[in-house]
């Protein structure tokens, strides 16, 4: 799908229609190695290093601001011809850290202090850095994932609400009272009902999906990738797929994601300990949230924020993190037999 949706742009930009495909295959090899590592490694031991890892990713997040911008944002660290998105790494590391930390016996998440102090600062720093990139989409994805983990870990609903409500009401105040970007918000509200009124990107995404119809135009036959649909191989790959394989194909894609999530939850249920459970659920819910936000953007249910669709979008870091996430789930599934208590 990456090839089909990117070949025209690659040809135009880099003179070879295989440009993106080759790079993605390279990332796939790297990702597979990383995934194999994740599959074989003792996750408990790894999690012991999660605190230093967290600091490393935070430093990386800060470093992106030293890098030149691409598409108007500082999301990438450039290493020679390749680029890395620290925000994706941050997501995975946070999940591992939370699973590790929340499963400590002494931790009582129901206590406000226990809930806020250990986690509040670094999550806040990470999120702020990501928002400043600006990577609002990633920030929202990570926040939602973190909230779900807290929720499953047994945090008090009141505490969670105490987090969400001030942020939500602050946002609402800014938008509706101060008029900050309110036009965009009104546009967005209008576009939920009639997607064609939305921004150019949303409109094109919806037209692309619509052009697919029930069975799609056939793989390789999509026309919207001819510079109508922006980012046809990354953030909007779901629309590209929808045009070429239609509603039926997208149902299959959604079903596969559903299976991954369902299997992930099953693996979590059978974990012998709280660490395994939280890690499995963290990884699963991060996949769920990413898929949800990405598809909501493409179908005009959320305002445009650039986040990749796990496993399918072009992008090295995203692919490696996605593969690692699945590998972690597979690794955890090995522990099924070790039933405890």
């Amino acid at each position: 799908m990456v090839y089909s949706s990117s070949s025209v742009m690659a040809e135009s930009r880099f003179g070879s229609n295989l440009f993106f495909l080759k790079r993605q295959l390279l990332w796939l090899v790297v990702g597979s190695l990383a995934g194999y590592l994740m599959y074989k490694i003792d996750l408990k031991k790894l999690s012991a290093y999660s605190v230093p890892l967290l600091f490393v990713t935070l430093i990386l997040l800060a470093m992106v601001f030293l890098m030149p911008a691409r598409n108007g944002s500082h999301r990438w660290l450039f290493l020679g011809p390749f680029s890395v998105q620290p925000s994706e790494l941050f997501k995975l590391v946070v999940i591992i850290y939370l699973a590790f930390s929340l499963s400590q016996k002494k931790r009582d998440i129901t206590q406000w202090k226990q809930f806020l102090y250990p986690y509040g600062p670094f999550i806040a720093i990470g999120l702020v850095l990501i928002i400043l990139e600006p990577g609002l989409g990633s920030a929202i994805t990570i926040s939602l994932t973190v909230l779900i983990i807290f929720f499953l870990a047994g945090a008090r609903l009141f505490h969670l609400a105490a987090f969400i409500l001030p942020m939500g009401s602050m946002a609402a105040f800014m938008v509706f009272v101060l008029g900050y970007k309110s036009a965009r918000v009104y546009d967005y509200i209008a576009s939920i009902k009639s997607p064609l009124l939305g921004s150019y990107q949303v409109k094109q995404a919806v037209l692309t999906l619509g052009a697919g119809g029930l069975f799609g135009s056939g793989i390789g036959n999509g026309r919207q990738k001819l510079f109508f649909l922006p980012y046809p191989h990354t953030d909007f790959i779901f629309a590209s797929i929808g045009e070429e394989v239609g509603f039926v194909g997208l149902m299959a894609v959604l079903a596969l994601f559903y299976v991954i999530i369902w299997r992930g939850m099953k693996i979590a249920r059978y974990q012998p300990d709280r660490f395994g459970y939280l890690l499995a659920m963290g990884v699963t819910s991060s996949i769920f949230v990413s898929v949800l936000v990405n598809i909501c953007v493409v179908t005009a249910l959320l305002p445009t924020t650039g986040i990749p669709l796990p496993l399918l979008s072009y992008g090295g870091t995203s692919l490696i993190v996605s593969i690692c996430s699945v590998a972690i789930l597979l690794n955890l599934s090995k522990r099924r037999g070790m039933v405890v208590r």
Partner: protein, 690 residues
Amino acid sequence: MISMKSRFNKVRLLFLYVVITAVWVILLARLGSIQLVHGSEYGEKARAQSSGKTKVQAERGIIYDRTGREVAINVVGSSLSAYPRNKSEVNKANRYLDRINGWKSGTSRKKYKLEPERFRWIKRDLSDKLAIQIAADSVDGLYLRKGLRRDYPFNEVGRQIIGNTNIDYQGLSGFEYNHDSLLAGLPGLIDFLRDGKNNTYNLREVPLVKPVTGKSMVLTLDWYFQEIVEDELKSAVKEYNAISGTAVFLDCFTGEILAAADYIENSTSGVLKLRAVSDCFEPGSVLKIATMAALLDENLVDLEEKIYCENGLWQCGRRRLRDDKKHDTLDIQQIMELSSNIGIGKLAQRLGGEKLKDVLYKFGFGQQLRVDLPGEASGAIGDPGVWSEYNIAALAMGQSISTTPLQLAAAVGAVANGGELYRPHVIKGIIDSDNRTIKYMEKEFIGRVIEEDNAEILRSFLTGVVERGTATPAQSSIISIAGKTGTAEIPDPENGGYIKNKFNASFLGYFPAEKPRIAGIVILHQPEPVHYGGHTAGPAFKRMAERYSIANSDLLKPNTHLKADGNDCEMIEVTDFVGRDYEFAKTMALRDGLTLKTNRESGLVVWQYPPANRKIPGSEKIAVLVDSNDDDNIVMADLVGLNMRTALALLNYQGIDFEFEGCGIVKKQFPKVGEKISKTTKCRLVCGNS
């Protein structure tokens, strides 16, 4: 309460599971709504933005003159338009336009006011060089479009008739407008793909619907003659200080219009209509031809009889009729030659008003001739109710009647050909793009206006007008001309009567006098101080006839040496020199016994006269032009020794204005051979017989 002992909270996990499932259902529903419920609508919109059908221009038909010269053709031109998609493309386009135009920055922004997603033409009909450069630079937001446009090889010559097209290649005026449906053809359809950057890709080589090329038209006009008439009319208006002029010439035997021109001095808008067809005026004495035709046909005059012309002042009822010069008695022929109003007025009494009016109708006056030109006026013959002596006399001498110049030309054409009136027309035929004739216009006989023998008598009168009468300035040494002068007072539309000291001077005639071929009229409006038709319109008519006859030597007087026959000497077939190197052409000419005259001694021959395969007398020299590729620097060719027809053909081809003295072979030329000249140079030739 939450149990910390358990590794997980079943309720919360179940809740999350339900949420995820619900979300999936919502997403599926949303996708169903977009792809299935609105799928066809959105799909249609997506297709509309990425593909489309567009019209393919059909080529317009060509307009040819009677000799097959192309006078309106099609050329491919490139146009530049802007359709920037965003602010940055607007800026890029502005910067680029400033650069290629050599403007200081900001000029383009002010001039074109480009905005995102707004289409705007920048420049139509770019030069080829510029188009290639812009295509190579391919700036975002700027687009080149190739299209056909109309080109007129003779520039402004004859444009009053053929008109022009607008920037979108549609007929706007003249023939281009009136026959647009015929010339335009039918556009074809082509389907194409377009990407988000507005690049288009044709889906197939052959268009969906092929465009149908418009029909071509062959006109009866002779563009060389048209050029001569326009040129001479303009100089006559200037020379005689007139405000405007009109001229029209037609073939006596077919009614085919050969040239029709209008010139208005100090006109700001140019001449938009052809007044020879669309405007009426009071003809004055030129109408006496029709009156005399009626008198002859009705046998009301005796060629021997003398008419008392009252010494210039005739008390006619309560009004007075004057002659320009005092005459005692004149015979019938003299009345015509000297254009006596009293004489013709008295004779017309024998016809009576009604009869005269009938004959004038027969001649085609007072009605539309149904010419294939737009906006034809009918003119009117006055009906006084009571035909007093004065009213009859006035009508007989061309007052109280209005006619178009074309009606007069057609009428005199009928007299010239022996009495048959043919419908004037400008369309000779219609052909399709494969040169198959679709329609051929036969000449249309309207009616007989005078008996053949009477026409001959009348023609002898008209020859006398030029030889001895009022039109002696129209005499030519190389072509015999016959006709009738007119010096018509101009009716005052406000106060009635006539405007004092303002006249329309005209000459209505035909040539050659002894064997008429071409009839025509030249009218000069309000020339001053000389206002006599014979002294103003007459010489103009003569110059037009002369210049046309030089190019068509069979019209010339028998004793004129221009005539290209010479059966007594050996005839040689002319070799084709065009495309040869001059050195080689010279060798060929030597071989074939021909002599070449040229403008320069090296280069490729691009033109020759007489053309290849024509048989010429061995003594005649050939003119060839060697390519210079440089329009501004024409080198004066060697014309000495050429016969006049060849010399004038060469000057005509080079677009150089000329005047000449005498006729026969060029003896002297100014400027001299090899001098650099321009299109504005007037070349003078002194000719004589060898």
